[in-house]
């Protein structure tokens, strides 16, 4: 085990996989940084410091700085993947799927199926998502609900440095396209990470981060920590929460959720995206359908409101699900008779 930051887990995993497999290549805006400047390459290694030093180690052929052309970035990843490479492309902000969605949705997500199952597209598209930096409506969004709904894409949302490592390695070695969603506000978080250079976490296996018998809380990413805090607080009161970290939203580990709800009979899903057609509604619907008889209370979603992400500190905090709102939702389902 090594203690490292979430962002370093990203960087280390990429570096290890590049070392292991020469087909792994990295591309994105400023992933080298400093190209064509007086300061020279690597003057600044990516705005999230998730590619620092890769250029020096692996060279310009495998660490490719790109113009501001997200469609071409994802498209190039598609072409690389179809040609036997394992591209790890970075979209600086998840919000930029707006300018590159076709390549994600209609291209890489569909090749395998459209082409009759004979085509592999092992592309990883990493992107930084989420609120917490007051970056406002176009730089703060959670986008997993859209991507989870798109057949052919695997969608990963790690919440800890260890999960980053196991899941990103899995993503790079996977033969299907993987969307890897890194929460901006987690980049600086530290945790123990296994040193094993073959440590992977299979997709579709949720992690039970707290165990209890009274209520099931499901979440991902940044908000998982809020859920844990609520669970810990309630534990002191003798209320037991199962806190389930989904890790991947597609494939989704329905079994773990359903097993838990069968015991608790109560469900709260905490989601950073707006409510309509969200992951929270998806899970609530699945549970209502498949664990109907076990439910003792209405399945409860906690989402931001159906508005763009606002800028000012007070507005963004009011917008985001908070520990308080999660606690209120948990108490609400607990008190349902």
């Amino acid at each position: 085990m090594t203690k490292m930051m979430y962002r370093d887990a990203v960087l280390t995993t990429i570096a290890e996989e590049m070392e292991r497999d020469e087909n792994v290549v990295v591309l994105g805006e400023d992933v080298v940084g400093g190209m064509g400047t007086p300061g020279g390459p690597e003057a600044i290694g990516g705005i999230w410091s998730t590619s620092t030093g890769l250029f020096g180690k692996f060279g310009a052929a495998r660490v490719i700085d790109t113009p501001i052309s997200e469609s071409a970035i994802v498209g190039a990843a598609a072409g690389l993947a179809l040609s036997g490479k394992r591209p790890v492309a970075e979209l600086m902000f998840a919000d930029f799927i707006g300018v590159s969605l076709d390549q994600i949705w209609n291209q890489i997500g569909k090749f395998r199926y459209m082409f009759g199952g004979k085509t592999k597209c092992p592309a990883v598209i990493r992107m930084a998502y989420g609120a917490g930096y007051n970056a406002a409506a176009q730089h703060s969004q959670a986008v997993h609900q859209m991507l989870t709904g798109m057949p052919g894409l695997k969608v990963v949302m790690p919440s800890t440095p260890a999960d980053v490592k196991g899941l990103l390695r899995q993503a790079i070695r996977d033969d299907d396209p993987v969307i890897f969603l890194e929460h901006k506000a987690l980049y600086g978080v530290t945790g123990d990470v296994p040193d094993d250079k073959d440590f992977t976490i299979p997709f579709g296996h949720a992690r039970l981060s707290r165990a209890g018998e009274d209520v099931t809380i499901v979440s991902t990413g940044l908000l998982l920590g809020f859920c844990e805090a609520v669970a810990d607080k309630l534990a002191a009161e003798g209320i037991g929460c199962d806190v389930i970290d989904l890790r991947t939203t597609s494939p989704i580990d329905e079994e773990t959720i359903l097993d838990s709800v069968e015991v608790t009979g109560r469900l709260v899903v905490v989601d950073e995206a707006p409510p309509r057609c969200s992951l929270a509604s998806d899970i609530c619907a699945t549970v209502a359908n498949k664990a109907f008889a076990s439910l003792k209370a209405p399945p409860q979603a906690v989402n931001p409101p159906h508005t763009p992400v606002p800028f000012a500190r007070e507005l963004e905090s009011a917008y985001l699900p908070s520990a308080d709102k999660i606690e209120a939702a948990v108490r609400k389902v607990l008190s349902y008779r």
């Binding site: 469609s71 970035i73 994802v74 598609a78 072409g79 179809l82 076709d102 057949p151 052919g152 579709g204």
Partner: protein, 323 residues
């Protein structure tokens, strides 16, 4: 024109296969047995074949919604394609892709594409892979005069130049994007190549209705790109003989236009005239090929009609998970 007799016969045969494959589709589609949107490539065969006759399986191509010609020229199996278009589970893509989504990655054919302009960025990636592999292979993207206005095509051109990808942009200017004229939609109202040139690429131009023009032009382009000089672009002026899609009444055509292009701008007729006048091949050679190709197409239709249909269970396969 230093092509061997064998090479000439092969080129003609390739063009003829595309032509007859589609002439036959044009007929069969009218019976209502073939589903979906079908865009025929007839008239542009010299481009696909003039380009692909230079390529090996290491070279990649990325195609368009009008992809049959590119697929066949790149070596996709005629029967597998016909079955695919007829929607059989023995089709090249198990009946899941259809006309607009035929691919055969092992043959270096990375897919037709229903999204106009989507192929260009993919070819840049493939071209980067070619460069990485360092074996002189190239990736080629075909785009129309309509596709050249899509943002992805422009981004791809710049990205190819920046990354020095071994990538070639082949623009097939058939003067129409659906029902809109080239002069209207391409703002420069000049050719496509000059705009590509402004992205920092060396460009070429050729006559897309003349196999030899395409072939000789592509020799230069390929020499340039295989040598590691980065990307290049080439524009071929060409004609499409049928409507945009099957069913198109083509009221945008001028009087006599279709007759004129079928008469004067038919790459097969042009080829035949050239090689027979130059005494490289004689009519009998070509007639024999014609008959052989017709029979091969007939056979592909027979097979397509007899091939097993997909089943409901097939829907759920070939995707990593289907809830």
């Amino acid at each position: 024109m230093q092509l061997s007799r064998e090479a000439l016969l092969r080129a003609y045969r390739q063009m003829k296969v595309i032509r007859e494959f589609e002439e036959r589709l044009h007929v069969d589609i009218q019976t209502g047995e073939i589903a979906g949107f079908t865009h025929l490539y007839c008239g542009q065969e010299a481009v696909a074949v003039g380009v692909c006759e230079h390529l090996t399986e290491d070279d990649k191509i990325v195609s368009t919604h009008r992809g049959h010609g590119h697929c066949l020229a790149k070596g996709c199996d005629v029967n597998g394609m016909m079955k695919e278009i007829w929607g059989s589970r023995e089709g090249l893509c198990k009946g899941k892709g259809g006309s607009m989504h035929i691919a055969d990655v092992d043959k270096g054919m990375l897919g037709a594409n229903g999204i106009v302009g989507a192929g260009a960025p993919i070819a840049v990636g493939a071209g980067i892979a070619c460069k990485l592999d360092g074996k002189g292979a190239v990736a080629i993207t075909f785009s129309g005069d309509g596709a050249c206005n899509q943002g992805t095509t422009f981004e791809a051109m710049n990205m190819a130049v920046v990354t020095k990808a071994s990538c070639i942009f082949v623009f097939e200017n058939n003067h129409y994007s659906e029902h809109t004229g080239f002069e209207y939609a391409v703002g420069t109202q000049k050719d496509i190549a000059s705009r590509a040139e402004a992205f920092g690429m060396k460009v070429w131009r050729g006559d897309g209705t003349d196999f030899f023009s395409v072939y000789e032009t592509m020799r230069e382009v390929l020499d340039y790109v295989r040598a590691g000089n980065g990307p290049a672009a080439v524009e071929f002026d060409t004609e499409r003989f049928f409507g945009h899609f099957e069913g198109d009444p083509q009221r945008y055509r001028g009087p006599g236009e279709l007759d004129r292009i079928r008469e004067l701008r038919d790459c097969l007729k042009n080829f035949r005239r050239n090689v027979t006048e130059a005494k490289l091949l004689d009519h009998a050679d070509l007639d024999a090929l014609d008959a052989e190709v017709l029979e091969a197409i007939e056979e592909s239709v027979r097979q397509a009609k007899a091939a097993p249909r997909p089943t409901a269970q097939d829907v759920l396969e070939d995707v990593y998970i289907s809830y």
